[in-house]
Symmetry: C2
Subunit: 384 residues, 2 copies
C-alpha cells in the first residue's frame, strides 16, 4: 500500500507539472519548481519524461534573473486529439480538438427529424473519418470521442436512457459508436459538456462552484462543484425542467402536472402562441415580440418570469459563485436579457444574489463539442 501510495504520488506530481506547463507555459523549470514546491531535480526528471512522451517541447531561451539563460518549456499542442460531437434534433456538429483545447476543424451536418439511430451513427462515423483524413491527423493520436445530446444519460455506461428530442430510448451509444469507429466514446447530457467548456475556457474559469442554465428546446442545468461535474445518484442533478412550479398547472409529458419545462421550452411557447396566431416556428414568436404584438409580449412576460424564478431557485439551493445563462433564447432574442436580469433582482434572495455573478455563455454554439472534447481528454488520457 505505501509503495502504491508512492506510485500514485509520482503520477499526481507528474500531472501537476503537466497541468502547470499547460496552464502557464512557456515556463522555466525553475519557475515550475518554485510554484509546485517540488525540488529542481524532481522537476527535471518529470519534464524529461514528459518530453520523451511528446507532451512538452522546449521553446526559446530567456535571460533569467541572475543573468543565466533558461530554456522554457511548453506543451506540445498536437500530441493528441479528441473529438467532440453534438447531436441535436436537426443538426450534428463534429469538432476535432487538440491538446490545448483549440478546435482544429469543425463540421456541421444536417440531421433529418426522421433519421433513425443507426443512420445518425453511421453518418457520424463517415464524417469523422473524412475529417481525420482531410486534416492529416494520425489515427493513433486520437484518444477518444465524446457525444453530447439532450436527454437523460447513463454516463457511466454511455447509454442514452431517454432523449425526447431525438426519440431515442435505451440506446447503448458509447458501445455502438465505438464498434463502428474503434475510438473510446463517452456520452453525456449536452449541458454538462457545455459547462465543462465554460469551466476550462470560458466564463467559469478559476471558479469553484458554478451552475449553467440552458434555455432552448428544453430547460435544464448543469453543475460544477469543487471543479467537478456534480451528477447525483442517477446523473439527473440539475433537472430543473421537471421541478413543479404550479401544482394546478400544465400537463407535462413526464406525466406530472405543472413542470417548469411546460412553460419555458420552445415547444411549449410555440404551442401556446398557436392559440393566438398561426405560426411556423419559434422565430415567428420572437419576431412578433419585436413588433410589439401584445400577445407575444404577454407570453414572453410569463416566460421570463418563470426563467427568473428558475434561476432564483437554483441559486437558493446551490449558492454558486457564478451562474451562466446559455441557449437559443439568449442568442435569438438578446433583448430579453435585460428583462430577465430585472426579474432576477425581484425574485432572488439577497444573500445568494449578492454573492453570485450572472453571466452569459462565452462558448455558445461551440460549447458542447468543445466541452465534450475536453471531457474526453480528462477522462481518457492516462499518463504513465
Amino acid at each position: 500500500m505505501e509503495k502504491q501510495d508512492q506510485l500514485l504520488m509520482k503520477k499526481q506530481n507528474k500531472n501537476l507539472v503537466l497541468d502547470m506547463i499547460k496552464g502557464r507555459g512557456p515556463i522555466s523549470r525553475t519557475e515550475i519548481a518554485k510554484n509546485t514546491g517540488m525540488s529542481p531535480t524532481s522537476i527535471s526528471r518529470i519534464v524529461n519524461e514528459l518530453h520523451v512522451q511528446g507532451f512538452v517541447r522546449e521553446t526559446e531561451l530567456v535571460t533569467s534573473g541572475v543573468g543565466r539563460k533558461a530554456v522554457l518549456v511548453d506543451v506540445e499542442k498536437d500530441v493528441l486529439f479528441t473529438i467532440g460531437i453534438e447531436i441535436d434534433k436537426s443538426n450534428i456538429k463534429i469538432a476535432i480538438v487538440n491538446y490545448i483545447g483549440d478546435i482544429v476543424v469543425l463540421k456541421e451536418i444536417h440531421r433529418d427529424h426522421s433519421e433513425n439511430y443507426e443512420e445518425t451513427l453511421s453518418k457520424i462515423a463517415v464524417n469523422v473519418q473524412n475529417m481525420i483524413e482531410q486534416n492529416g491527423i494520425l489515427n493513433e493520436k486520437i484518444i477518444g470521442m465524446a457525444v453530447g445530446l439532450p436527454g437523460y444519460i447513463d454516463y457511466k455506461n454511455g447509454v442514452v436512457k431517454l432523449s425526447d428530442q431525438l426519440f431515442w430510448k435505451e440506446k447503448t451509444l458509447a458501445e455502438d459508436l465505438k464498434r463502428i469507429t474503434t475510438f473510446d466514446v463517452i456520452v453525456d447530457n449536452e449541458l454538462k459538456m457545455k459547462i465543462i467548456s465554460e469551466y476550462f475556457l470560458g466564463r467559469a474559469k478559476d471558479v469553484k462552484n458554478a451552475v449553467l442554465v440552458g434555455v432552448g428546446t428544453g430547460i435544464g442545468s448543469a453543475i460544477i462543484l469543487n471543479g467537478e461535474i456534480y451528477r447525483g445518484e442517477s446523473n439527473n442533478a440539475g433537472e430543473i425542467g421537471h421541478t413543479v412550479i404550479d401544482p394546478t398547472g400544465n400537463v407535462c409529458n413526464c406525466g406530472k402536472i405543472g413542470c417548469l419545462a411546460t412553460y419555458i421550452s420552445e415547444g411549449a411557447i410555440l404551442a401556446d402562441s398557436r392559440k393566438v396566431k398561426d405560426l411556423d416556428s419559434i422565430d415567428d414568436v420572437y419576431e412578433a415580440f419585436r413588433l410589439k404584438e401584445q400577445w407575444a409580449i404577454n407570453l414572453l412576460d410569463r416566460t421570463t418570469t418563470y426563467i427568473s424564478l428558475a434561476i432564483s431557485n437554483i441559486l437558493c439551493l446551490y449558492n454558486p459563485e457564478v451562474i451562466i445563462l446559455s441557449g437559443n433564447l439568449f442568442e435569438k432574442l438578446p433583448e430579453i436579457k435585460e428583462v430577465i436580469e430585472k426579474k432576477f433582482e425581484i425574485y432572488t434572495w439577497e444573500p445568494v444574489r449578492e454573492t453570485v455573478k450572472l453571466v452569459y455563455s462565452q462558448l455558445n454554439t461551440q460549447g458542447v463539442v468543445l466541452g465534450g472534447a475536453i471531457q474526453a481528454q480528462n477522462t481518457l488520457l492516462d499518463l504513465d
Copy 2:
C-alpha cells in the same frame, strides 16, 4: 514538497488506521493490515503511536484462524470530548459527547424570548462549566465546542450574520464564546449539524449524497455531497425557504413575494389559522386537524402540498441517494407523514424518485447537539 507529501501521507495513513479501529473495533492488527492494504510493520508502528497518545487500548485476546492468540485493539472512548450546543428561541441544549459519539450528559435549559445575546452566552458558559465539573471530566480533554442555531451563519469566521428566530445580527459568536469559556468554538446552521449526526450515526450512514429537509419554525435543508457538507459561496446552499413558489403570493420578511417559507413555517401556519380561530400555539392547529376541523384540514392540505413540492424540487436539483425529513411537524403530527409521502409520489419526477430513499430523522431532538459535537471533533482534532 515530496518530503512534505510523505509527511502528509503518514498522517493520512494514521487517520485511516484510527478510523478503521473506530469503525470496526475491537479489531486485530492483522485485520487492519488486510483491510487497509498496509504492511503489518506499518500497522504495528501506527497502532503503537496511537496507543501512546491514548487513542486506542488493547482489549481481549481472541484465537485467530491459525490457532495463535491475537490481541484486539479498540478506541479509547474517553480520550477526548467535545461539547455540542443548540440554541433555539425558547430553549438551549448542551451535550458533552465522547470520542465515539456517545452523549455523556445532556442538559436542557429554558431560554427567555427576551433574553439578550450576552445573557445567553453567559448562561451557556456557566452551565458548561458545571456539567464538566459534575461529570469529573478534565478540562484538557475537551478539544472544543460547536454551536448550532437557526439562521444565516458565516461558518468560516464563526459569525451569526442573521438569525430571525433569535433576533441576532452580526454576532461574533465563536470569538465571544471562546473568550468566556477558553474553548475553541465552531458555529453553524442547525440543519447542517443535524445532517452531520445522520451521516455519522443515523439515516445517512454509508451514503455519498444526502439531503436533509427540516420543517418547523422555518423550512430549510442541508446537503452532504461526497461525504462533506456542501455550503456554496456564502454558506447558504439549501436555503429552500426562500425559493419563490408563487410570484403573486405572500409577502416574506426577506422582502420578496411568494417565498416557500411563508406557506410552511409554523409562524405562517399559525398566523393563517388565526384568521379563522383564536389559537394559542401551533399545537392547537394540530389538535384541530386531529379533530377533523375543516379549516385545519384545508390549511394543512396546502402545507403538505408545498412541503411535497419542496421535496420534489430539491430532489430534481440534487438527485441524492437519501432524503431525510426532520422537524417538529413530523414529531408532533406523525400522521402527516403518509399524506406527504402520497403527494411526494404525485409531484416527483420518476428518475429522481426511483433512485432516492425517503426517510425520517433518527436522531431527532438530539441531532443538532450530537452533529455539532461530531463536527467539532472532525474540525478541531489534529492528529500528530
